[in-house]
């Protein structure tokens, strides 16, 4: 008998029962909600006459549609706190419903408020070996700590809240080895974009993807979150990384992490959470990172990505009809030509934020590029820290001064303009270089053209006024 994969260990630890129809009843250790879909789920529970089984294992935050302008608070938004038309109702419902059901809400004004996938690790709510679900597709971010964390729909959230379980058809397993050492100026964001560009946005085919290898071990815990964050853009059920000493050091002392004897007991258990040497996977693949360049997307799917020093590919060279037509539509939408150099394409805006790249290490990476430099004239540049804690920590070390001096706006935390919900957005057809995860049509505003990149590449582009390689500015 072969050994067990990390995923297999987590699956077995949470198996309540086999349901006899191919699905398994899996215990859910944490449910996280946000105002965009959480309120709907909680209200629907009432309508169906169900109750929340373990409110102490459930959490909620306000992130998706809250105003992120500086100084945002309850006084500036007596009705709720959203610039989205009708947005206040989502916030109000979430407040009412969480209060009534005894669920901890990280509200506006609470120093723990922020983007769900930034807040959950920061507070020690997600733990190695835990199952975590949230009605948000980027819940896979939290797999970076060795949790089985995945995004679900509203109906599934209702099920998890009411029963503390989900009925799940066991996904296939996949392991991606990132070999080699990352060159200077190249980041976890570039690793995941390179993988999706090579294997396609459908590449993981619904598998649980374990990220492993020398290059993953070398990443800090926050960078691992960036890697796992985009597992869903790879069509993974989720992504995860085996916990190691870096993970334990990251969690030690966090508000909801165990303490004292329980901490020691937990650490002993967590050290077992890795794939055995002879574990089998349905799919295994490798990617050598040692020659990677900073990545940029040129189209409207995360798979439409190339190195910053490369040219826009030619759809005519692609045999598959649907892929070719999607590329042609993407190029027309993005107003780019096959063979055109990406570097040098003028931009209207630069955005640093989102559950992908808004943590302290991301802001430090961008600040290293921005220090002593100015954003190009005519470029709207915005930095939205991922949580109030990140914002406060960045301010404590003076990063906000670097952003502000360079000409960036320095915002309150939230999902902000990662997506356009009808409130604030980038302008019609504007070209935005963005540290976010989705370059879909109109994602960041009406017909906006999004280029995904790392925070350093976004910062370098903001300074250049066009898509640009961050490495020269970093002295590489």
């Amino acid at each position: 008998m072969s050994g067990l994969s990390l995923f297999e260990k987590l699956w077995r630890q949470h198996l309540v029962a086999e349901l006899g129809d191919g699905a398994s009843l899996i215990h859910i250790d944490r449910v996280f909600l946000h105002e965009r879909t959480g309120g709907v789920a909680l209200r629907a529970l009432d309508d169906a006459g169900h109750t929340v089984r373990h409110p102490r294992l459930d959490f909620a935050t306000l992130d998706h549609i809250v105003d992120t302008f500086p100084g945002r608070n309850d006084a500036s938004h007596p009705g709720g706190g959203s610039l989205m038309p009708g947005g206040d109702a989502f916030i109000r419902t979430t407040r009412e419903q969480t209060a009534r059901k005894g669920i901890q809400l990280f509200d506006l004004g609470d120093p723990r408020q922020g983007i769900v996938h930034v807040v959950s690790p920061e507070q020690g709510i997600v733990l190695p070996g835990a199952t975590v679900v949230c009605p948000d597709s980027h819940t896979c971010t939290q797999g970076a700590l060795g949790a089985l964390a995945w995004g679900i729909g509203s109906s599934e959230a209702e099920h998890a809240l009411a029963t503390q379980t989900l009925r799940v058809v066991k996904p296939r397993s996949m392991r991606v080895h990132f070999d080699g050492q990352l060159p200077p100026g190249v980041t976890a964001k570039d690793m995941i974009l390179a993988l999706i560009a090579r294997d396609g946005a459908a590449g993981a085919r619904g598998s649980v993807v374990e990220f492993a290898g020398e290059a993953v071990r070398a990443l800090g815990v926050e960078a691992r979150m960036t890697l796992c964050n985009m597992a869903v853009e790879f069509s993974a059920f989720t992504g995860l990384i085996a916990p190691d000493q870096a993970t334990l050091d990251y969690l030690n002392g966090r508000p909801y992490a165990p303490r004292g004897e329980t901490w020691e007991m937990a650490c002993t258990a967590w050290r077992e959470l890795h794939s055995d040497a002879d574990a089998c996977f349905d799919i295994e693949t490798r990617l050598d990172v040692s020659a990677l360049a900073p990545m940029l997307t040129w189209g409207t799917s995360p798979q439409h990505a190339v190195g910053v020093d490369q040219r826009v590919p030619d759809p005519a060279t692609v045999a598959d009809t649907a892929t070719r037509e999607a590329m042609e539509k993407a190029l027309a939408y993005m107003d780019l030509r096959p063979g055109q150099a990406l570097s040098g394409v003028p931009i209207d805006a630069a955005f640093i934020g989102s559950c992908t790249n808004s943590r302290l290490s991301d802001l430090r990476a961008a600040a290293a590029v921005l220090r002593g430099r100015k954003v190009a004239a005519g470029v709207k540049a915005i930095c939205v820290p991922g949580s109030t804690q990140v914002k406060l920590a960045a301010e404590a070390e003076g990063l906000h001064r670097i952003f502000l001096d360079a000409g960036f706006e320095w915002r309150e935390s939230g999902c902000s303009m990662c997506f356009f919900a009808g409130g604030e957005s980038f302008g019609l057809r504007q070209r935005v270089v963005s540290s976010t995860n989705r370059n879909f049509e109109s994602r960041q505003g009406p017909l906006t053209r999004t280029h995904l990149a790392s925070p350093a590449t976004v910062a370098a582009s903001a300074i250049a006024g066009c898509l640009a390689d961050p490495r020269p500015l970093l002295g590489h």
Binding site: H27, R36, T37, G153, R167, V232, P258, T321, F420, A421
Partner: protein, 207 residues
Amino acid sequence: MYKFVIHEGVAAPLLRSNVDTDAIIPSREMKTVGKTGLADGLFAGWRYLDAATRTPDPEFVLNRPEQQGTTILLSGMNFGCGSSREHAVWALKEYGIRVVVAPSFGAIFAGNCVRNGLLPLVLPEAQVAELAATVAADPQRRRLTVDLQRCQLDDGCGRSYAFTLPASQREMLLQGLDPIALTLQSAPLIDAFQAADRQARPWIWLD
């Protein structure tokens, strides 16, 4: 809750890969705290020349006269990727779509479909293209029939296509089961699991 046994209807080709849930229902079209009022926002970025005034784009497939009453979508791989928003399924359903045929689906989207009585039907890309070619000549007459009991799609021109669906999802759709009610029947198993888990992993239990 929501049953699906057999369905006959007009099929429309939307043969693009990676049709994401932002395209199916843009965030700005999710205006109220509820599961209804979403059909107007379906494919809003593609369906209207001007979304604000709801001026239809005559070129968009669902707006063509021959596609009136479409209930089956034919699409490319990775349909429904992206955001977990169940609103994408609620919008499709409210519009009248009952089946989406594609080479693969976003995992969360496929789960959301089953919860709402929509069938995410997987066929190889070549077969989806063949179906699109079949219906193209006259979508109103060349209706497709999807039979979940037999796991078979008939194109009305003598060709049939076998498909598979995980047994649990097939049962859920065929019988229109309420998953929460079903799971609550297993409450003693959940109780037992949790009692043991409190001993094994006390750090999980925050009380």
